[in-house]
Structures are given as structure tokens and as C-alpha cells.
């Protein structure tokens, strides 16, 4: 079993060596290339990375929503012990919605434009043995819960009549209507402005606590990770390069890419400059043999362009894919762990 999968009896979901490739005409794009992680009950787990690092495809693979030319090549996705990748595709619907629900990134394209919001919520309430009146009441209640004003009226409307933030809320209401045990949130706030973003995130936290969900939060925003997540995995070029608890990630990152992400965040004293990661993310269709981050890495040596680094343990529950973890020892992130420990005391 890969190191990244925490061995505990509490795991609701264990993803192991997941590989999802896209077979294009002239190349194979390895969007997800051996991803492993686990999610404990009640936990919020973050997946961070740049666009195209495979975060969204990892989420979609969990629900097996990969369409040709994409295909899940190998691996396992164990939900409550059952490998979802071995379930016949026709039976996947038992797990979709009521067990594992997903919030999509773009509410404008994820809501059906020609069906009323009411019908779309009703679809999530199927198989719950509710009468139409009960469904109606529940749908209104859900819209009110996610903060859509005058839900009785808006439930009759279509997606295009909603603003961006309201659409996102409606989508969350639709997903939550099924009362999933795991919520997959694919950049749930990227399309929104900052104030709405904050409201939506707080909403997800409060709903999570009320309904006792576990959450996998995909984002490229480290601020959201800090605010929301218990543990976090950093993805780069289809693989997890570092995985640890949120505090450690910000306090003592042990992967050059994570370090780079921290450096590109505004923080610290006035006048301190941002240090963006130089270079471009690699082309997933044509990855070099070594570490895909090597060309952009300031610690890289010749071995980095030759051998792909294995995952190594750097601390309890803290793993990193780097040949030179030792070099990173003593590098600190953007928060001082000592201070945090003080504060906690």
C-alpha cells in the first residue's frame, strides 16, 4: 500500500495508485498518474495544484465520470471498503449522489439550462420516498439553507436567471439534497468574487458540521486550504508531490514546489516581494523521465532529470516526492510553527 494512504480504521475513502489517461490522436496525456490518498470520516482534505495538474480529473475519476478519450487505467478507489472501479458501471449510480456528491467548478455549465431549478433539486431527492409536496418543501428549505433569497419564487426559475453566486449556491443545494457522505468540491468558489467566495466556504463548513460530511476540496488557492482543510495534498503534473496536515504544509513544507507556492503568496512584512515559480508547468503529453518539476526547481541536480523520485516519509503523516528532502530541512513556510504552538497553549 502506498505510504500516502493513512492506515487507520477511520478511512471513508482510500484512493490508491489511481491512473487516468487521455488517449489523444498523437499523444497520451497522463492527467492522473498514480495518485494515492485517504480521507477519514469527517475530514476535509485539500487537493492543491496549478491548472492542469490533475486535481479535477482525480475527483471525476472517483465518481467514474471520465468520458472518452479519457480512461481510468488502473488503481483502486475504495469507498467503505468497496472498490468503486470494480463496480459495474451500471451500478455506480448507487454511489453517486447519495454516497458521494460533487460540486462542479462552473455552475453556469453544470446546471441544465432548460430545466427549472426545482426539477434539478428534485432529481437529487429521488429514491428518498418523499411525496411531491415533501420534495417541494425540502427543495425550498435547501435553497434557504444555502442562502438563496425568496426560495419559493426562485425555485421556479432557470439557471440563467440566477447570478453567478446564486448559481453556485443552487448547485450546492442540488448536491447536498442527496445528503452525500462525501462531498467532492471542484474549485467551488473559483468563479466567484471574494465576498461571495467567503460566504460559500463558510456555508460548506457549516453544512459539513451539520450533516457530518467528509469533504475533498480541490483548489489552486492556498488561502482556501488554510481556511478549510485538515490535511492537504499538493499535486504536480498528475501526481501528488507532498501530502501532510495543513499546519505542517504551511509551517515546514518539504517539497520545492510547495515551497515555491508559498513564496508566490503575499505574506509577511510590508515590502517583501512575491517570488513566483519560474518556468511553465510541463506538458502532460510529453513528460521527461525524471522529476517533472526539475526544470523549474532551484534545488535540482542531475539525478532529478534522470530518476523519478519515490515518495518518502519526512515526518509523521508527512510525505514528499523529492530526492533532496535534506536540502529542504530548515526551510520554513509562511507560518512559524513555534508561534502556532505558543498560541495553542
Amino acid at each position: 500500500m502506498p505510504l500516502e494512504v493513512v492506515k487507520s480504521g477511520q478511512n471513508l475513502l482510500e484512493v490508491e495508485d489511481l491512473k487516468t489517461y487521455f488517449f489523444m490522436k498523437d499523444a497520451t496525456v497522463k492527467a492522473v498518474d498514480g495518485v494515492s490518498f485517504s480521507l477519514a470520516a469527517g475530514e476535509t482534505f485539500g487537493l492543491v495544484g496549478e491548472s492542469g495538474s490533475g486535481k479535477s480529473q482525480t475527483l471525476r475519476s472517483i465518481l467514474r465520470l471520465i468520458a472518452p478519450p479519457g480512461r481510468i487505467i488502473s488503481g483502486s478507489v475504495r469507498y467503505k471498503g468497496q472498490d468503486l472501479l470494480k463496480v459495474p458501471l451500471g451500478e455506480m449510480r448507487k454511489y453517486r449522489g447519495s454516497e458521494i456528491g460533487m460540486i462542479f467548478q462552473e455552475p453556469m455549465t453544470a446546471l441544465n439550462p432548460v430545466i427549472r431549478i426545482r426539477e434539478q433539486i428534485f432529481e437529487s431527492l429521488e429514491n428518498k420516498g418523499l411525496t411531491t409536496d415533501q420534495k417541494n418543501a425540502r427543495a425550498v428549505e435547501l435553497l434557504r439553507l444555502v442562502g438563496v433569497p425568496s426560495p419559493e419564487r426562485r425555485i421556479e426559475e432557470y439557471a440563467h436567471q440566477f447570478s453567478g453566486g446564486m448559481r453556485q449556491r443552487a448547485m450546492i443545494a442540488i448536491t447536498l439534497a442527496a445528503e452525500p457522505k462525501i462531498l467532492l468540491a471542484d474549485e467551488p468558489t473559483t468563479a466567484l468574487d471574494v465576498t461571495i467566495q467567503d460566504q460559500i466556504l463558510k456555508l460548506i463548513v457549516s453544512l459539513k458540521e451539520r450533516l457530518g460530511m467528509s469533504v475533498i476540496m480541490v483548489t489552486h488557492d492556498l488561502g482556501i486550504v488554510a481556511q478549510m482543510c485538515d490535511r492537504v495534498a499538493v499535486m504536480y503534473a498528475g501526481r501528488i508531490v507532498e501530502i501532510t496536515d495543513t499546519l505542517t504544509l504551511f509551517g515546514a513544507p518539504r517539497h520545492p514546489y510547495t515551497l515555491g507556492l508559498m513564496g508566490s503568496l503575499p505574506h509577511g512584512a510590508r515590502g517583501s516581494r512575491l517570488q513566483p515559480i519560474t518556468g511553465q508547468p510541463p506538458n502532460l503529453a510529453n513528460l521527461p523521465p525524471g522529476c517533472p518539476f526539475a526544470p523549474r526547481c532551484r534545488f535540482a541536480e542531475s539525478i532529478c532529470t534522470e530518476t523519478y523520485p519515490e515518495m518518502v516519509q519526512v515526518g509523521p503523516g508527512h510525505f514528499s516526492r523529492c530526492h533532496f528532502i535534506a536540502k529542504l530541512d530548515g526551510q520554513s513556510g509562511i507560518i512559524d510553527l513555534g508561534n502556532v504552538a505558543e498560541g495553542r497553549r
Binding site: 449522489g97 462542479f104 441544465n112 432529481e123 437529487s124
Partner: protein
Amino acid sequence: MKQLNYIVGRLLQIIPVLFFVTVLIFMMIHLIPGDPAETILGDKATVEQLTILRHQMGLDRPLVEQYLLFLKNLGTLNLGDSFIYHVPVTDLLANRVPVTIALTIMSTIFGALIAFPMGYFAAFNKDRAFDQGVRVWTLIALTMPGFWIALLLMLLFGLKLHWFPVGGLGEGLFGKFYSLILPAFTQALGLSALWTRNLRNNVVDVLRMDYVDFAKSKGLRDRVVIVRHVLRNALISTVTLMAMSFTRMLGGSVITETVFALPGVGKLMVDSIFARDYGIIQAITFIFALLVMVMNLATDISYSFLDPRVKLE
């Protein structure tokens, strides 16, 4: 309420267009070379006979007066007698219009029966053999002229296999239906090719949409996802295209009815043109113009019902 306003507005817009159409139709008599009376009576007509006929037709009156008379006749559905059939034009049309309407409806149904499954399965087998086959087939069906298809169908199913009559309208309800099958099929082929391609491309596009994946992620049955989310969206523009095809079918009926010797409006139109039977030509042109306008309006209205994003304003 807005919808009603829109519909009333559009109906009012039809009036000036219709006015223009009536002017055009009226002018036809005077624009076509040759005197109508001479054409009707032939070379051996005497001057007296010509004068009498011209007077009967009102051709000796001022143009404006003639036009107003024409409008009055049109309005009261008193379109005079046909020169060649010697029956009132309205009676003639009452016999012929149902044939063309039946042909149009059957063509639409046949077209849909061909296009829906083909387009649907082609989309679900995108770029595989079936899709390629459909692509080749639609190309052939689109490029073959209607009269050529008609002749091929007649040869095979009429003369060789004797499954269907070669031409003419049968007796009784079933006989009529039976004799319309080949003509309807002829019209349906070309149109269904258009609809097939449209539906296929729509389904391919919709299948890529996030809302289809979102629907699946709710745990819905495949059937529900396909009917409610894929087809519901894919059919919007196909249905609109079908409504617009109606005009094409009216034009096509002229050819199809002629080839299959069907007593419909299209055939009547052709016969009347050759015989210079002005009253009929005017009436049919007017009916066709009216139908095209009404169908265009119906298309726009249906679009707003199918797609809530479309506002009629």
C-alpha cells in the same frame, strides 16, 4: 404576457408583408408577356371575344381598381373560376390542399423516424464505423436531387418489386395513405439527412457538457440522463430546423407531386403555370406566402417554449 404581446406584434407585422405579396401577385398578370385573354382564348379568338373576356376579367379597368377588386375577391375567397378546369378556384384548392398537407405531415414523420435514431446512435458512436457510415449516407442523401431519388424509388419499389404504386393517388383512406408512402419517403430522405447531421452534432456537443456529468453525479438512471438532459437539450435546435424545413417541403412538393402524379397543390401549381391559369397561380402563391409566414412565426414561438433562455420581446 410578454409572449402574447410578441405574438400579436408579429401577427401585425405579417400584414404589411402580405400587402406586398398581394401587390406582387396582382402584378404577375400584367408583368408576364402576352395578354391573359389572348393566352386563354388562343390564336383563333376574334377581337370581340377578346374584348368580352377582358371585360369579364376586369382587365379594361384602371389598375388601382383592378387591384382593389382583386383584394376584395381574395378577402371573400371568391377567386373566380379556373380557366382549364372550369370550377371555382376555391373548390379546386379545397380538394388539392389536403393532399399536400398529408404529404408534408407524412414526410416529416418519416424524416423524423429516420433522423432521430440515426443522429442519436451516430453521436453515441462518434467517429466509429456507424458514425462514418451515417456521414457518408447523409452526404449522398443531401446531394441527390429529389426527382432522381423519386425515379429510383419508383423503379425499385414500384416497377421491380411492385410494393407500392408508381404514381397517382389511391382510393379510400388507406389507399391514399398507401400511395403517399413513396412520395413522402422521397421528400423525407433529403430532409432527414439534414436533420440527422444536426441532431448528431447537437448530441455530441451536449454529451460534452458539464450538466450531463452533473446529472450523472446525482446518481440518475442512464435513461433519465439521456432523455431529460441530453435529448431535451439536443432536440431544441433540431425541432426548430424541422419547423423551418416546412418551407422547403412546400417547394419540394412541386417536384415530388409532379413526378408521382399526385393531385396536390404543387402539381396544380405546375399545371396552372403551363396553362397560364392566373387565378390558381395567384391563389397558390398567396397561400404559400401565408403558410411560410405563419410557419416562421410558429417556429419562433415554439423555440421560446423549448428553450427558456429565449425571450420573445
